[in-house]
């Protein structure tokens, strides 16, 4: 279904980010766009999606910037809870191309859900746009996917990912914010000009090297025009909300049954990395299972433990508590296009599974059957 394009006089940008880890980053991008657009004589507003707060570490959240030619135009956007469609969507962890689920939502949404016809999805990544399109959901109309090459990464948060991550109190000041802003000017100069962004960075940092960094993203943006129908065709189940006559009175929901998992909220879109297990190395000590805060591990018929990937948030505690070297390793989530049981794969195709492990840095098997 084609959505109507927004009026030319006002434009919306969303930043989809990892809760807490990228809270400051998302806020800096959206604020930066509005402040820079002032230099072009435009007005604007920036706000975080209220429903995402309080944010959870890793759980996808959104921040918006709306830039308009005048106050009346801007007010049209302010009168809404959040934009229904956006001109530019910025995704600051490429893993989220698989889909996102805010903790307040029901059902997994495509990363480009709000991108309008002819609009843009910008992703910070080391991968090519063609690669990311395999994960990104198709739309009925044409749109554009563009990759902002990642800046040099530092820090300990999720080292196998490509996203710029940090904690709540110390910002990972690696120019990702300025690079995203510059990328916006390339695809949507009507929002803000590259000159305005460069001037903004100069004012903020008094550092010409950072201005260059921003310009680099502008120059090296990898743009891929996407036709309607191109991309990932697998959509997730959507959730119907009942009305007041169907809801149970007394604010009651049915308890979960033993052995089941939340059918509506899966949690996996909150992870940047997933644990991969060498079942041959598992000594059945139970520690990964015992210390998992998300009840992800299940015992296999062999007595080893496997991960239920739909439920895993990717915290890495299992890797940390596992007493055996190279038994559990965290691997970038984009290396996988499914949440199927890897234990079953390891049984069905032991050699294939061995190769998979080796591909992801597990040592070559030494006489293990």
């Amino acid at each position: 279904m084609a959505e109507t394009a927004v009026a030319a006089k006002s434009s919306s940008v969303e930043v989809v980010y990892r809760g807490i880890f990228q809270k400051t980053l998302a806020n800096r991008i959206c604020r930066g766009l509005v402040v820079a657009a002032r230099k072009d004589g435009r007005v604007g507003t920036a706000f975080a999606r209220y429903g995402d707060s309080p944010e959870r570490n890793g759980v996808p959240a959104k921040n918006f910037a709306v830039v308009a030619s005048d106050g009346d135009e801007l007010e049209k956007s302010l009168a809404k809870y959040e934009p229904a469609i956006v001109d530019v969507s910025i995704c600051v962890d490429d893993v989220m191309c698989k889909g996102i689920e805010s903790w307040a939502w029901y059902g997994i949404q495509p990363i480009n859900k709000l991108v309008r016809e002819g609009g843009f999805l910008l992703v910070t990544s080391d991968r090519s746009p063609e690669e990311l399109l395999q994960f990104t959901h198709q739309k009925s109309y044409d749109w554009t996917l563009a990759v902002i090459p990642s800046p040099k990464r530092e820090g300990v948060f999720a080292p196998d990912g490509t996203a710029s991550l940090a904690g709540l109190w110390v910002y990972n000041d690696d120019n990702t914010d300025y690079r995203c802003m510059a990328a916006v000017t390339r695809v949507a100069p009507e929002i803000v000009s590259i000159d305005a962004v460069e001037e903004y960075v100069r004012e903020q940092t008094k550092d010409e090297d950072r201005v260059k960094q921003a310009r680099d993203a502008y120059d090296n943006l990898r743009i891929l025009a996407v036709k309607g129908g191109q991309g990932n065709a697998h959509f997730y189940e959507q959730y119907e909300k009942p009305g007041w006559t169907q809801m149970r009175e007394g604010i009651i929901v049915e308890a979960m049954k033993v052995g089941t998992r939340n059918p509506v909220y899966k949690k996996w879109t909150a992870r940047t990395r997933r644990p991969l297990i060498d079942f041959d190395k598992c000594i059945k000590c139970t520690l990964c299972w015992l210390h998992c805060p998300d009840e992800c591990f299940e015992v296999t018929p062999d007595g080893t433990y496997e991960v239920v990937y739909e439920a895993c948030i990717g915290c890495s505690i299992c890797e940390e508590v596992c007493p055996v070297e190279n038994c559990i390793k965290m691997v970038n989530e984009l290396e996988f296009d499914h949440n199927d049981s890897l234990y079953e794969m390891s049984k069905a195709d032991p050699d294939g599974y061995r190769k998979l492990l080796e591909k992801h840095g597990f040592p070559v098997a030494e006489g293990v059957k």
Binding site: A255, D294, E319
Partner: protein, 344 residues
């Protein structure tokens, strides 16, 4: 049938004996590496299916039970921020009356009320104190302490460590440290102040079996009981979630968070804390714990030294290390005999 496995709450001797069945299942909406969620899981696992859990407002309410879904297999009900004590009392009293009058089947139902540090150590302290005097009712109050109002975006609570950055105690040009209150010693206070409470303990999810056993012991002993857990919070403490388990261990190993239990007025230090007290484990410097967390990133060497001295005093001068904050010197003057016993 799985639901029969935990009617009698026997101690868990090894990790292999930890019950497999989950009564708090996945799909809750907590952070990556949330140790408080792990505490919830242990609570449900240790207590089993014949339980009612009451949850105060806080992370473990908001992030766990988003409407129309729930992670709880056992019956669960929200209670107000300061109401863990009164919720436990009301639920236990209601069940007792109905059972006595023959209105419902007379059986053992575990009543467990949890609260965060804001709900338990700040707002709900009085209600928990009152609850712990009701020795005619059986329940356990669990205070999961992640050292801030974490759900509302990390504001300082009475349990936030000295000097930590929170959204109410940021670090700035004029003031490097805004939060200068020392954390309350809640389990010590609960034990000392409620002599008829048969069980008070501290725990940490990094020692999961110990935590579950303390829970079971409290529930088995009966009457009102109290368990306080220290839960590393990757969001508020600022560290990579993979280190949640390790930070819990460091809190204990540095002597900042002593593990102990008070059973029928008999105090026992447990686990690593016991080893420290008995000289079998060398306390680690607090620096190893503090410098792993972004909330202390603004600390100078002097700040760390100050923190270390406070912890040293807690171990060297207190009547019971880390538990009862009365200096040994005063006691010596009053009662030499007791001092000798203390040394022995």
């Amino acid at each position: 049938m799985a639901t029969q496995e935990l009617i009698k709450l026997d101690p868990i001797k090894t990790v292999k004996q930890v019950p497999y069945t989950e009564y708090f299942v996945s799909g809750h909406r907590t952070c990556q590496g949330c140790e408080s969620a792990l505490v919830m899981r242990y609570i449900a696992k240790a207590a089993g299916p014949r339980s009612i859990v009451l949850g105060s407002t806080g992370c473990m309410y908001v992030a766990n039970t988003s409407y129309y879904t729930t992670p709880w297999v056992v019956p669960w009900m929200h209670t107000q921020l300061g109401s863990a004590g009164s919720a436990a009392t009301g639920t236990a009293a209601g069940l007792k009356a109905l059972m006595r009058k023959g209105k419902i089947k007379n059986e053992r139902i575990n009543v467990i009320a949890f609260c965060g540090d804001g709900g338990g150590a700040d707002m709900g302290l009085g209600a928990i104190s009152a609850a712990l005097t009701h020795d005619e009712y059986n329940f356990m109050v669990i205070l999961y302490d992640n050292e801030s109002y974490a759900n509302t975006d990390i504001q300082l609570s009475g349990m936030t460590p000295w000097g930590a950055v929170t959204t109410f105690s940021p670090t700035g040009k004029a003031k490097r440290i805004m939060h200068k209150r020392w954390k309350k010693n809640v389990p010590g206070m609960m034990a000392a102040g409620h002599p008829e409470t048969r069980y008070v303990a501290s725990a940490c999810a990094s020692y999961g079996v110990d935590l579950m056993n303390k829970m079971r012991k409290g529930l088995e002993l009966g009457g009102p009981t109290f368990l306080h857990t220290l839960d590393p919070c990757p969001k508020g403490w600022h560290y990579d979630p993979q280190f949640s388990h390790e930070l819990g261990k460091l809190a204990v190993e540095t002597g900042i968070w002593p593990l102990f239990e008070v059973e029928d007025n008999i105090l026992r230090l447990t686990g690593t804390t016991k080893s420290i007290a008995e000289g079998r484990f060398q306390r680690k410097p607090v620096r190893e714990y503090l410098m792993r967390q972004g909330r202390f990133a603004h600390f100078t060497d002097e700040d760390i030294e100050f923190f270390q001295k406070k912890i040293d005093r807690q171990w060297d001068d207190w009547v019971i290390p880390g538990v009862i904050a009365f200096g040994v010197e005063g006691l010596k003057a009053l009662n030499k005999t007791l001092m000798e016993q203390q040394k022995g």
